[in-house]
């Protein structure tokens, strides 16, 4: 492909995980021509292949009291009433149909003896609700890929990093990317772009996700003027391994290991003491995160700075545990076995790790962003779950909003004219990318810069935050932007599969995004869900609103706020927190009895 060639299509989808591939299927079914661009390979990069097998869908196959309305209330409450209810409504009411779509693509769900789907209860669910995907997220992604590639109107471009969205008169005109296989830039013209790029967990040091989740989708949207929402909300999953070091962050599904109905293991602090409050159900993630970090912080952690998950006192036999873990398709078991860790015989050390990006690009119920022609589906979207997410809603979200984005983008594209692509802008972008290949005597490698970024996020924008720290972080990012970013260059100037080039592109965006995240966190002067401010430890009713980040000029952004979209009167209909959790002192300001 020559450098100057411009490809043309109706819908461009950036990202080939669950949301991107579902969007491609939907857009193709609407009659649109689709180009799917992914910086890795479809179904073998990004978050979906690594996902746990949980897909939330209120089929009520285990307990007939369940229904989508209860799932809706569960999601609103556990999101600390910060999720937009029109989105949650779509999510919880359509998740079942979308599960059946996947089923028709050959994705299998584990079944009960009677032939109905097995549904398991996870923290935050009123009833057994999660489907168990046989073969985990990988099998789901593989099924979606198979279905997507059946569509002749879908073209897949792998190993292409999208670096810039192109605009014309306030509307999407196309995009520019770097093709890793050839080392050349490519541009695509289309009236719509669907971002399905996932989150930005990789900004932090401890993460259970793959290293490609660097958040450029969020930043690309910001660059063309889209609203970003609740960027400060990063979900810390309670159980990533903290030892051995080389597998730091590997996710261990705590739900299956600790729930009484399943493996019935215990969570203990470094002194071997129980520290979880006595509640009916296992606490949800934001509460677990706070309880665990409190133990570690107050000197009751394990030798490697975590807490224990211990199955040795489980009433279940080793055989039963293995059978349960198999039935639940519990992800880490094989991995732990490879490492020589036997979860039945020895306690494992775990700590909370970044797991899911709650914030992101602001969308409406049809996955439209605030920029015409630009859509966002899946984790990159920011106002669905709120301040915490229940298990199973992420995979459901990819399908519900992937499909909605695909349909709406196709309809829009087929009823609008193409926008001209500004070739000068394309050339400018190519030149910008070229600079990363120009060796500098005082050059800084992307890997070094990423380490610095991770350190700032870890030190100041981690699970506990305060004004002073967040201001330090903002200054540190500003300093990186001035002093380090101009020196950023790849180790070597070869072009084909030069991964350092890709990392340089990512690192540049991460500096900018880091500042926006810190600025959002600084603005939200309360603690809610996964946003934990030591200087504002309580949840404050007046902050039950979104933080919004918007670009105003080249290097200028503003942080404002916006109301949460309601379908119900939350002054009247509102659940209260569990008394035992309130007593444990980690839910300050949460309404109780």
């Amino acid at each position: 492909m020559s450098q100057n060639e411009v490809l043309e299509t109706d819908v461009i989808i950036v990202g080939a995980g669950g949301a991107g591939m579902r969007a491609a299927i939907a857009a193709a079914d609407e009659g649109a021509r689709v180009i799917v661009i992914t910086k890795g390979q479809a179904a073998r990069s990004g978050a979906t292949p690594m996902a746990c097998p949980s897909y939330q869908a209120a089929f009520a196959m285990e307990d007939d009291r369940d229904n989508p309305e209860i799932a809706f209330e569960d999601t609103c409450f556990e999101g600390r009433y910060l999720g937009d209810e029109n989105l949650i409504d779509a999510l919880t009411h359509e998740a079942t149909d979308r599960a059946m779509d996947m089923y028709s693509y050959g994705v299998k769900f584990r079944k009960q003896e009677n032939g109905k789907f097995l549904q398991v209860v996870h923290p935050g669910h009123s009833f057994e609700r999660n489907l168990v995907i046989m073969g985990n997220g990988y099998a789901m992604a593989a099924g979606l890929r198979r279905e997507m590639l059946k569509k002749p109107s879908v073209k897949l471009l792998e190993d292409v990093v999208v670096t810039r969205l192109l605009m014309d008169d306030g509307r999407i005109a196309g995009l520019v990317g770097l093709d890793m296989r050839s080392g050349n830039t490519i541009s695509v013209q289309a009236p719509t772009v669907i971002l399905a790029t996932g989150g930005y967990q990789e900004m932090w040091r401890w993460t259970d996700t793959e290293p490609g989740l660097t958040g450029e989708g969020v930043f690309l949207a910001y660059q063309v003027g889209a609203d970003l929402v609740d960027l400060e909300m990063m979900l810390f999953y309670p159980a990533g391994l903290c030892y051995p070091n080389e597998v730091e962050g590997t996710l261990v599904q705590y739900e299956g290991l600790l729930t009484k109905k399943y493996c019935a293991g215990e969570m203990l602090n470094g002194l071997g003491e129980h520290f979880l409050p006595h509640t009916q159900a296992l606490p949800v993630r934001d509460v677990m995160m706070k309880l665990m970090f409190r133990e570690i912080e107050e000197g009751r952690g394990t030798p490697h700075g975590g807490v224990y998950i211990d199955l040795r006192n489980s009433p279940r036999s080793g055989e039963e545990i293995r059978a349960i873990l198999t039935k639940l398709d519990s992800l880490p078991y094989d991995q732990l076995r490879d490492l020589g860790i036997d979860v039945e015989k020895e306690p494992i050390e775990v700590m909370p790790v970044t797991h899911y990006t709650l914030g992101g690009v602001r969308i409406n119920e049809w996955a439209e962003t605030t920029v015409e022609g630009l859509f966002a589906a899946g984790e990159v979207g920011g106002n669905i779950h709120g301040a915490n997410r229940t298990s199973g809603n992420a995979l459901a979200e990819t399908q519900v909003f992937g499909r909605r984005a695909g349909i709406r983008a196709a309809q829009y594209a087929l009823n609008t004219s193409r926008r001209p692509v500004d070739l000068t802008e394309v050339a400018q972008e190519a030149e910008r990318l070229e600079q990363f290949l120009t060796p500098l005597p005082s050059g800084i490698r992307p890997i070094e810069l990423k380490r610095k970024i991770k350190k700032i996020m870890h030190d100041y924008v981690h699970y506990r935050r305060n004004r002073e720290g967040l201001q330090t972080a903002i200054e540190a990012f500003q300093q990186l932007r001035v002093e380090d970013a101009p020196r950023l260059c790849a180790f070597d100037k070869h072009r084909i599969y030069n991964y350092e080039w890709e990392e340089a592109i990512e690192a540049k965006f991460m500096i900018e995004l880091g500042e926006l995240i810190a600025a959002s966190a600084l603005t939200r002067e309360e603690s809610r869900g996964h946003h934990w401010r030591t200087d504002f430890p309580a949840m404050r009713p007046e902050w039950e609103k979104h933080t919004i980040v918007r670009k105003v000029e080249a290097d200028q952004y503003e942080v404002s706020d916006a109301p949460v979209i309601r379908l119900k009167d939350r002054t009247k209909i509102r659940r209260t927190a569990d008394a035992a959790l309130l007593e444990a002192g980690v839910l300050e300001g949460y309404p109780g009895d």
Binding site: R44, M50, L331, L339, R445, F491, H494
Partner: protein, 234 residues
């Protein structure tokens, strides 16, 4: 412990011939080979290119030839290599693009040739196409495939002729041929009985040895051969 890695290097842009380079690193016995590659890339030589994504043995990106055996770099621990020098090369039989990255396109072309999706034109029942646990069990093993290409690129028959669909494509075909809901078996068996189908397999078992998911690959191929011969999908 100190280990030496001997890594295949090729850069199409620097005019040098493919060659091996050696790196000495200090490793923990529980380090994975992938950790060592990351270490080398991060500290010694940023030009080293290899694919990776999840690092958990799930995504199948980092298949490579390690001491002569196809393995996922993220699943192989240093202690299991019993010291000495670790030789790392790209998987065989596919064109090397750069260092440890090969052109996977012929592999995926073969995969696509066996119609890797559910085929069933009968009108969909109201609720779902039912399947019993036993019927599901029939193809359980081959659902585990992650298309890492460890099997196909360990197969001497594939090395000889990359038009041979190879073990991975047959495993995928198996997954559908023996699925009670699928109606495309005849079509797939016809493809696989052709010139580049199952009869290129000489039961060498390299594929089974290489599979990081412990799929009984050779057995699956055998079952497909038998189905072609007998027309029986039992």
């Amino acid at each position: 412990m100190e280990v030496t890695l001997r890594i295949f290097r090729y850069n199409p842009e620097n005019g040098k011939k493919p060659h091996y380079e050696e790196y000495k690193v200090t490793a923990e016995p529980t380090d994975r080979v992938l950790d060592l590659l990351e270490y080398i890339k991060g500290n010694f030589d940023g030009t080293l290119s290899f694919r990776r994504s999840c690092a958990h043995g799930i995504c199948g990106s980092d298949a490579m030839r390690i001491n002569g055996h196809n393995r996922l770099a993220c699943k192989l621990l240093v202690k299991d290599l019993h010291g000495g020098k670790i030789t790392i090369e790209p998987i065989l039989g596919l064109r090397v693009i750069k260092d440890l990255i090969v052109d996977m396109e012929p592999f995926f072309e073969n995969y696509r040739s066996v119609l890797p999706y559910l085929i069933n034109d009968e009108p969909a029942p109201k609720k779902e196409r039912l399947q019993s646990s036993e019927e599901r069990e029939r193809f359980d093993d081959t659902t585990k495939c992650i298309l890492c290409a460890c099997c196909t690129t360990s197969c001497p028959s594939f090395w000889v002729n990359e038009q041979y669909v190879g073990p991975a494509a047959i495993v995928t075909a198996h997954r559908f041929i023996f699925d009670s809901r699928d109606r495309g078996a005849a079509e797939r068996l016809k493809i696989l009985s052709g010139q580049f189908g199952v009869y290129r397999c000489h039961t060498i078992f390299n594929c089974t040895e290489a599979c990081p998911r412990e799929i009984e690959v050779t057995q699956a191929i055998g079952e497909v051969k038998k189905a072609i011969a007998t027309g029986d999908l039992g």
